[in-house]
Amino acid sequence: MKTDNKTQTSKLDPYAGERLKRSHFHPRQAELNLRDAWSSWNGYKFADYYYDEEYEYFCIRNSCATYDICPMQKYRISGADAHFMLNRMVTRDLNKLKEDRVTYVCWCTDQGRLIDDGTIFKLGSESFMLTCGSPSLAWLRKSALGFERLEITDLSDDLAALSFQGPTTCEVLKKMGLEGIQNLKPFNIMYFDIGGSSHKPLMVSRTGFTGDLGYELWIAPQLALTLWDELYAAGDDYGIQPYGEAATNMARLEAGFIMPGMEFNEALKTVNYQYDQTPFELNLDWLVDFNKPHFNGRSALLEERDRGPKYRLVKLDIAGNKPADESALYADQKCSVEIGYVTSAMWSPVVKANIALAMIDSDYIDGSIWAEIYYGKELRHHSKVVRCVLQNAPFWAPDRARLTPPPAF
């Protein structure tokens, strides 16, 4: 955080240079983090959870909850070449993206290996915002080489953002005074006044990472705490609660969303040859638009499409109730033919199912699938081999996430 306490303490605190940055919402979040369960994200001090991971997860599914996305990386790309530069970088066709709309995109190396996924906000005809989980400035700069009429600004530390997810979110925002919020369609953007302002400093997009009804709120840092206070005041009667990394991970897994470091390894940070993934392996075929004459990795991806990906990301419903974290997958119950590995797994409290995302050798995708699960019981370790059933639809995809206006909770 560039504001308040840093400049004062650096003289006193010999460890200042080494401490994690504080989010713009930190003063409020710290109060609520009763467990002191902090980890870090992109150099920010970041909550794993605040009170209880499962409670926070149920707030997402049952009421409403906020997730701090200040540490998420945000870049403004503007200028006459901005569209062309981004359109060549990502695999989707941005010609289809209208103003005040958001789209989910991914981008690849020349070899068609996935670097990262993220969202692009079209803020004006020549103005875009790209958000993603990991720092990407170096790749953006590389991508911008040869495009003269372009400016890339790293907004990561200079734009506060809060994800607000759950069935009561629309109601809370209405109560907060965001008039017309119920008409905001998925992936659309609207602007609102807050704290008596008149220039609509609050940007709201109907986006999120939970597979549920939800919004993301974007605002200048100096208004961050105002936003927080107004939101929490309005949300008090609707069960508002901050949630951390742990609950996010549960919600996104139910929705079938991929995470770097779990489902995929960012290509530019992968040491071993092809230990990274292609969009096809991750079932992101729908993001790759071959009608577009050129985008980065196109020819490699075309080959991959024609050849068929080596692996496929699948959703598994696994017998029993022991989560299959880090399990190896086999084609037979004797575990003689290894065909893949589980990338994320959990017991889903809403679906009451033992679910997982997994990478499976494409050749075995139609056969039977067995998971070898390790689990502990009072310091003893056990393993068992159980059957897995392929699921096509997300484990959790309520209608309210898609409908406009969203139904009453």
Binding site: D110, K142, L145, G146, N291, H294, R298, S299, L302
Partner: protein, 518 residues
């Protein structure tokens, strides 16, 4: 509207060679040249009334195979005799290097030279077939590519155990170590290392490039010795032009290409032709660029049509030229102390440290305090270069940075020109009295006059990481580019720069082979 089989960008010698081969195979070819003269860096032009010169002032390894394939001798090109290389000494104790021997050095150095020369010729002989081959992609499974690899392996083995081991050691040796291992004379060492260094941002102590550059230059029929064709370098360019026109090819001068046109649809991208500065649009099945890779990809084609890493690799090619040119119009012969007729290639570099220290100035963007250079008086071998009884002096001055700290102001240029003339005058006392006109071209000048990025002779540096299957960079090292229909044929492709013709020849062969499938 005319639709060509091939449009070739640039009428440098590689563009012309490529065009001539294609035209002879019955293809329609149009060569587009930005300037008003053919030949690119080898073009001969009048720099003062009656006095002519080119950026390149001699040949060292123009391919004999191309001469015979295109029958250039029947079109007016008559190769010249090898010129001696003379290391100038202030006291007149010059060192004279010819292929067979040396003058002006000790018996010990002479003996070493014979062995050294034979060893390098064995190495050069091993490599020579590969300069005119397409370097395969590593990992290619094509039969022809595997054959090339196998041949390379076999040739290496055929050197014998000792030579092979020595080759693998010597190949990356800095010039200084190679010279120190073999010779005592400082002047001799400097002169012999010259051919491994000239044109590059490399000095005698820099490893990894010198020896390969030397061996590359030794691939010609005079084994690396410079020569001037009987009727000048112009006669080579004219012969290439004649062969091309006779085979039905066309050439247009004053036709600068500003853009390579690309069509894009759901089948991907394809080069369709070019656009000229006046807005004229020309169509062709293939566009073959002899312009340097940076210009071709980043300026003419545009990054938006290319992959991101590829674009960045092109951008990071080391293309800054480090050679300036001094041209003097002389109203009579300049005499060099201790030399009867200065008809050789004369090198001013008293010892390897003088080369090294000149480089040190340039690496920080400075102008050399004591320039080192190569001097030729082309009018001695080719009387058409100057009016009767008058002469032209041409010097390649190393290491003159492309981007000078503070910029190339008129003053900075004038100072360096003066310094260079003073340096030559130390060896040629009557020089200053003979000067009618002087011209000094920095790499920046060469860039703007010859449309070559960085003013770099070789379009991009001839060093190990930019050679062979990595020239100019992988995915464009086999003349085809990532854009279907766009090919490279200039010095930025394998085997590289210099008046050699290899890139043009190899590109034509590749295009013809690829064309069979079209």
């Amino acid at each position: 509207m005319q639709h060509y089989d091939n449009i070739i960008i640039g009428a440098g010698h590689n563009g012309l060679v490529c065009a001539a081969y294609l035209a002879k195979k019955g293809q329609s070819v149009l060569v587009l040249e930005a300037s008003d003269t053919l030949g690119g860096l080898a073009a001969t032009r009048e720099f003062y009334p009656g006095y002519k010169v080119g950026v390149a002032h001699s040949l060292s390894h123009f391919s004999a195979q191309i001469v015979s394939d295109l029958n250039l001798t029947a079109h007016g090109y008559i190769p010249g005799a090898p010129m001696p290389t003379i290391g100038l000494d202030l006291e007149g104790k010059h060192v004279v290097v010819t292929r067979d021997g040396l003058r002006g050095v000790s018996k010990k150095d002479l003996d070493s030279y014979i062995d050294y020369r034979q060893l390098l010729e064995r190495f050069a002989g091993m490599l020579s077939p590969f300069w005119l081959k397409t370097m395969p992609r590593i990992g290619s499974k094509k039969f022809a590519d595997l054959t090339t690899f196998a041949q390379l392996g076999l040739k290496l083995r055929l050197l014998g155990k000792r030579d092979m081991g020595e080759f693998m050691r010597v190949a990356t040796l800095p010039a200084r170590d190679l010279m120190d291992e073999n010779f005592d004379s400082d002047l001799l060492k400097a002169v012999l290392s010259w051919d491994g260094l000239i044109g590059s941002k490399m000095a005698p102590r820099s490893p990894n490039a010198t020896v390969l550059a030397m061996l590359y230059r030794m691939s010609g029929e005079h084994h690396g010795a410079s020569s001037i064709p009987k009727d000048g370098i112009e006669s080579l360019i004219n012969a290439l032009h004649l062969v091309l026109v006779n085979a039905g090819g066309q050439v247009r001068c004053n036709a600068p290409v500003t853009k390579i046109n690309v069509k894009g649809d759901s089948t991907g991208l394809r080069a369709t032709g070019v656009e000229l500065a006046d807005g004229e649009i020309l169509h062709a099945r293939r566009v073959i660029s002899s312009a340097d890779p940076k210009r071709t990809f980043l300026q003419l084609l545009g990054a938006e049509h290319l992959e991101i890493e590829f674009t960045n690799r092109i951008n990071r090619l080391r293309c800054d030229g480090y050679v300036a040119k001094l041209h003097l119009a002389l109203d009579g012969l300049a005499h060099f102390s201790g030399i009867d007729i200065p008809d050789g290639r004369m090198i001013v570099a008293p010892h390897m440290d003088s080369i090294e220290f000149a480089f040190d100035d340039a690496k920080y963007g400075g102008s050399p305090a004591q320039p080192v250079m190569e001097i030729v008086l082309p009018s001695i071998n080719d009387s058409s270069m100057a009016p009767d009884g008058k002469h032209v002096l041409s010097a390649h001055v190393m290491y003159v940075p492309y981007s000078l700290k503070g910029g190339w102001t008129a003053e900075a240029k004038a100072n360096l020109q003066d310094l260079t003339i003073d340096t030559i005058a130390q060896y040629s006392p009557n020089l200053r009295d003979r000067i009618v006109h002087a011209e000094f071209l920095t790499p920046e000048d060469i860039e703007s006059s010859h449309h070559v990025t960085g003013g770099h002779w070789h379009h991009t540096e001839l060093s190990m990481d930019q050679m062979l299957m990595m020239r100019p960079t992988y995915q464009a090292a086999q003349y085809a580019t990532p854009i279907p229909g766009l090919f490279l044929c200039g010095a930025g492709s394998h085997p590289g720069g210099g008046l050699m013709g290899g890139p043009g020849h190899n590109a034509a062969r590749h295009v013809l082979a690829a064309g069979k499938g079209l």
